[in-house]
């Protein structure tokens, strides 16, 4: 049998496809395996009354974006350049953003 490029290609794509499908199997497997840990985290959140993910510890308003007040979060303006790197990764909390829009329209002409 002579080697044929298309056969190599098919073998390659079969392998890739197998790996691709394997990621779904792996995802299902890991989801099942982490159910307990997730439930434990949920319990911890309930018991301690936690409100935010501990993703960014560099500033108050990035550690607890949902608890930040109007003036401390995104200190100058929601669209201003951020002082802390993580501040430019995530949007301001939704309820802050909508309030800022109100303020914007009110101050637009005044000053």
């Amino acid at each position: 049998m002579h080697s044929r490029r298309s056969h190599y290609a098919f073998a390659f794509f079969a392998l890739c496809l197998a790996l691709f499908l394997l990621t779904f199997a792996d995802a299902a497997f890991r989801r099942a395996g982490s159910a307990d840990a997730l439930a434990a985290n949920e319990r911890l959140v309930a018991q301690l009354g936690l409100t935010d993910l501990c993703l960014f510890t560099e500033a108050r308003y990035t550690r607890h974006p949902s608890q930040a007040d109007l003036q401390s979060a995104f200190q100058d303006h929601p669209l201003a350049f951020e002082h802390f790197p993580s501040g430019s990764l995530m949007p301001p909390s939704q309820h802050l953003l909508t309030r800022y829009e109100d303020l914007d329209s009110k101050t637009k002409s005044a000053d």
Binding site: Y8, R31, A37, V45, S72, L89
Partner: protein, 383 residues
């Protein structure tokens, strides 16, 4: 059908032989293409899984949080507020919370200090002089249960605590920077008098009524700022929105670069390629055969890039904790949670990614060929 397959295989043979002639260039292209898919897929998988996990975990966070604002800043809840809230109908339970931030200048890290009030948590009530720490704090300060740790409080007094326990590694996503202490220790550490709290957590009898109750609270306490759980959840639904900051810059930059690269590669039909298409037409290929051959070229390259990039992104995000994103996500923070996200894969997102990576490249490969492929077969002899 058999003929059709044999024909497509033959066209694939040819297109692969063609690609193999410029091995380095085409492998380079495949590599760049794969990296783009990898980046896009990594961002996609990471943010989707994180949002999903946030929604899952934070659905048990407090239903209503009442803060007090003074001159636009958070202020302590004075005594009497808890009682006033208790008189509002529909409030099931209320609890003053004690929590705050502490900057540890030994390792230049910010901690979240908290005095858990509920007696029923897994680590028991924290006794005076004891402390329960998050896993990242333990890692950063090299602490284990039984060790002593001292902090100089904002009032200048030195406090020494014994580490009672370390919160589990699996909980780092919500608790990496926590320090749990007793209420007495917390009050004396931050010098908060008895009866004062940082904010109040409420639960309501009927979740449908939560907005009405929020309205009543702001009537009762005009200086209160109320945060509902649904707002907390919404904050995390939109975290890492694709329109946001670095995500957007990263994506648009790389997509644009690749678009230029692919366009240049695919549409810059060289004289050599035109000549080859002329030859194929002259030896009996139809216009459709040439287009099919080129279709396979585009489809194979982009499909390979998609599959390789996606699998690599999956491994990166879920098996290597998105290690490449760490420097970006970490920013200036010292404490960074180490967590393995639970893989949640959205089929629709993958389909979108597939469409936006495979389809444009394939089209960009075929379209410029069109004009060359419809030339007359005798053009070769005239030229």
């Amino acid at each position: 059908m058999k003929t059709w397959i044999a024909k497509q295989k033959a066209l694939i043979d040819f297109t692969l032989s063609s690609l193999a002639r410029r091995k380095l260039k085409n492998l380079g292209l495949l590599l760049v293409y794969t990296i783009i898919v990898f980046l896009l897929a990594s961002v996609m998988l990471y943010t989707h899984a994180l949002r999903h996990e946030a929604a899952q975990v934070l659905k048990s966070s407090p239903e209503v949080i009442v803060q007090r604002l003074v001159a636009g800043r958070h202020d302590l809840i004075p005594p009497g507020y808890l009682e006033k809230l208790g008189r509002i109908r529909g409030v099931q339970s209320k609890e003053g919370r004690l929590w705050g931030y502490f900057y540890d200048n030994v390792v230049s890290a910010n901690y979240t200090l908290m005095a858990p009030s509920s007696a029923s948590h897994d680590f028991g009530q924290v006794a005076d002089g004891k402390i329960v720490i998050g896993a990242a704090v333990a890692r950063e300060r090299g602490l284990a249960p039984g060790n002593l740790i001292s902090f100089r409080s904002y009032t200048g007094k030195l406090f020494i605590f014994t580490v009672a326990a370390v919160l589990p590694h699996e909980a780092e996503l919500v608790s990496a920077d926590l320090l749990l202490l007793s209420e007495t220790d917390f009050r004396s550490f931050f010098d908060i008098p008895a009866g004062y709290y940082n904010d109040i957590a409420l639960s309501v009898a009927n979740p449908q009524e939560v907005r009405n109750i929020a309205g009543k609270i702001s009537e009762t306490l005009p200086d209160a700022r109320i945060i509902l759980r649904e707002e907390v959840l919404r904050t995390y639904e939109s975290i890492f929105n694709w329109r946001e900051g670095i995500v957007l810059v990263l994506l648009s930059g790389s997509i644009l670069a690749f678009a230029i690269f692919a366009w240049e590669k695919a549409s810059g039909l060289s004289a050599e390629e035109k000549r080859e298409i002329g030859i194929l037409k002259a030896i009996g290929w139809e216009t459709g055969d040439v287009l099919k051959m080129k279709f396979w070229e585009g489809a194979l390259v982009s499909l390979a890039a998609f599959l390789l990039g996606y699998v690599a992104a999956y491994l990166h995000v879920f098996h290597f904790s998105a290690a490449l994103f760490e420097p970006v996500l970490k920013g200036w923070s010292v404490l960074y949670p180490r967590f393995e996200l639970v893989p949640v894969v959205d089929g629709f997102q993958i389909a979108t990614l597939f469409f936006f990576t495979v389809f444009p490249y394939t089209v960009a490969t075929i379209v410029p060929i069109w004009r060359a492929a419809i030339t007359d077969p005798d053009a070769v002899m005239r030229g």
